[in-house]
Amino acid sequence: METWSLISVCVFLGLTTRWAVSFNSYSGAGKPPMFGDYEAQRHWQEVTVNLPVHEWYFNTTDNDLNYWGLDYPPLTAYHSLLCAHVAKLIDPTWVELYASRGHESPSHKLFMRATVFIADLVIYIPAVLLYCFYLRDGSAKRRVAVALCILLYPGLILIDYGHFQYNSVSLGLALWAVVGLGLGQDLLGSVAFSLALNYKQMELYHSLPFFCYLLGKCVKQGLTGRGLFLLLKLSVTVLLTFALCWLPFLSDPGQVLQVLCRVFPVGRGLFEDKVANTWCSLNVLIKIRTILPSQIQLLCSFVLTLLAALPSSVKLLAKPTLWQLKLALVNSSLAFFLFSYHVHEKSILLPALPVCLLINDLPLMSIWFLLVSNFSMLPLFMKDGLLMPYVVTTLGFLFFSVYLLSALERTTVAELRLESYQRLTHACLPTLNLCSVVKWKFFLSLVGMAALSLASMLLDPPAALPDLFPVLISVFSFLHFLGLFVYFNLVQLTEPSGRKNQKKAN
């Protein structure tokens, strides 16, 4: 079969899966008074279309910030405004000020789902296809398989089409940036990443690698000659993009400050709910939030995050290649997820995106990571009534990625990119059969995930420990993330210089 038809069948399948997931419930469905993220997005449409720009981020008589106040950067607000205008055309009651609060109806659900679908179709999916077809080497069939696996990653589908968010926009823009840099279009890449950052502040998790990559490239070209020129061009581009996004707010410094205050809510605590990062998992043993004052907490998390992200960033700075960039994106975003302040469980999608990009290079480990990342959001999915799609999409992803990428066969030391590590530890550690150890751990972890999933679906937790399963899930996932963080760092830091396939990838 021709490649085009394989690609289109894959894309159709990915889209069908997405739309079929959207038949299910969304966060906060029928749960007044606050509802959930679905209502938040609808409320933003209501606010942006009815109020002047300078009231969007302020608590005014018409804008109650305690009821899902806008706390994303301006680009999200513009997107809401655009959707609101379409909504107004179809049914003005959907976005009427005050009166539309908590509005829920089948047709409105259909509309909201369609906005996600269109955003995904316009931004995320083309980026995935471009990545798979311009930046990968390998046969056409292999590329299609990689594209299918990335498109079927259940975490993103369930959050965007089930829970309800627009992650495919910010992640899609970040992916466009990777594609841009990979194709040597540095300016395009930096514009795309600036847009991503202006859509969702969480994209900061990815900012260090992009910065280091571009800086490293400038340094490589010589900071006195062409490198300096490139640096200037890049900074002007980024500044211009930012200025454009913030244009309506630039007239008044108070506005800018208020937006920043909303976007970075320092007062919201070290972590919220149950999230598979260091702080929440440590909380099981030590109640950090009561011991340390919040200022110290903030400082602590900031320093630890930087320290954790530093090695990969430095390595990338010294060696700005696409392979290093992808690994650094994983490492930096994982460092942020594990150690930074006020992390949501959904933020695991940020490391998941670059891991998706590694799925052909490091199949088993990437699939493992992606499965755990999806699993770590199980309590959220259960709250939203998304059990059925969770089970189905997870099984589908597990089976198809392992089958199509022959993940279980590609587990030699070389394919795990651990030769240098093995050479280093050869002296002090007993030689292990690394492949079978990894495979066994993978299987054990699968069994663990299945058991914990089943337990939290079927069993009632003991009365004394109502949060038993969410805590177990987050600690279990945290341990995996930590282990995989170490692994991805090892792969990045021990990469020998001048390897053949990396040269090709550039």
Binding site: M388, G396, F399
Partner: protein, 526 residues
Amino acid sequence: MAAPVTNEWKWFSALALGVSLLKCLLINAYHSTDFEVHRNWLALTHSLPLSKWYFEDTSEWTLDYPPFFAWFEFGLSHLAACFDSEMLAVQNLNYASPATVLFQRLSVIVTDVVFIYAVKECCRGVWDEKRKDLLEQPSFILATLLLWNFGLLIVDHIHFQYNGLLFGILLLSIARHFQGRHLEGAFLFSILLNLKHIYLYITPAYGIFLLRCFCFTCSNADRSVQWRSFSVLRFTVLGLIVLSTFALSFGPFIALGQLPQVFSRLFPFKRGLCHAYWAPNIWALYNVADKALTVLGVKLKLLDITKIPKASMTGGLVQESQHSVLPSVTPLATLICTLLSILPALVHMWFRPNGARGFLRCLVMCALGSFIFGWHVHEKAILMAILPYSLLAVEQKEDAGIFFILTTTGHYSLFPLLFTAQELPVKILLMLSFTVFSFTSLKQLFRCGGRLLSTSEAVYLLGLVPLGLVCECVYPLTTWQKSFPFIPLLVTSVYCALGVIYAFIRLYILLFTFTDCGTEAKMKSQ
């Protein structure tokens, strides 16, 4: 691709698992009144004694499938009790709790195992050359065409029916004939007939085939029948199998003296010539011709407008349709037309039998003939031709071309089945993926033999794209939707009727002009 045996299994289970997971994702999709029909049957078989099954009429959806299907529902109802026993109360009309939906949907998904097994058996029967590329292997293409069949997916897993199970049995029966296990095939088919009597349409093909190729054990050199080779033993065994199946099914009702009641439920001839939405067959064209002539007659003042029967075509639930200009069609007339349309194929099979492949071809023509000329045909019945025909499509280029025209028009004509906006993207995406796959894979498979479609055929099929855009997206936004809601349906069935009838004619031409030397040679070389 080192170990061929395990590999073969891997791709097949990947296809089957993938489609099963997709079916699970569609659990919360829209379901039609057929969902309530089957819930009602669960309830009445569970809570009433056998003697009342075919008398019960609390719900308007009375039991109108043969006894084996009622027993199937009876068996399911015991499992249903574990999910939600409320659904088993006959009085609980339109009951659809989440547990009920889950149970009914899962019952369809699980019973599809029969279909999956049957597809596997069919793939083994297909003449298969080992190609380097898995995607170009006929058995792979066949498995995909059957397992991921668009029509079956939307009819069973969105609209709601149990066709997967029924077609599974049909395909298994066909596969058994391919494997030379004729008694088993006949047995399976008689079970199928007692599950859903719509398969009576293809009974002539079975009857003639079994008589000609099984009861007569050999042919003369010119393939004509050798009368002295009639095997009484085979005939008796065959008759015993079929009769005992029917006795098991209808026996209890004969003993209860309820046979007339059962038959009146199974064959409700009070229904109209066409279903509410016209199936794309000859009667759709006939209706339109009648309407056009009426309008023309009124314009030319040849007809008196007051004498025209009212509301004959408003697209609602018109039961008995009357024609204004052309003679009205009676059930007997449709029966005669149907028989006449399939007779040449049957005669051809008698005089020039071509083994199981000839039988399969005849079966497809019976299904298609009765679809085109039958009384009160549902659009879903096109699957009865499409699914078996997939087996032939991967073996010969001419068949592949006809198959593609038939499936594309037949599948498109299923679109009005799902009219909710929520399901619109799913039906379009699934249809597109199936069509793109079947076209490119068949084209690749027969790439040496010239083009799959002629220019006019391609233009006709591409015409479905603007038709779909207008009917599904543009027309519902116009004001005409309120006053003439039936126009898109009418245009769809007329447009698709042309393709279906064209495919039928092409099939006949192929039957009489093509000598099956090619396939025979391939079979021998195997």
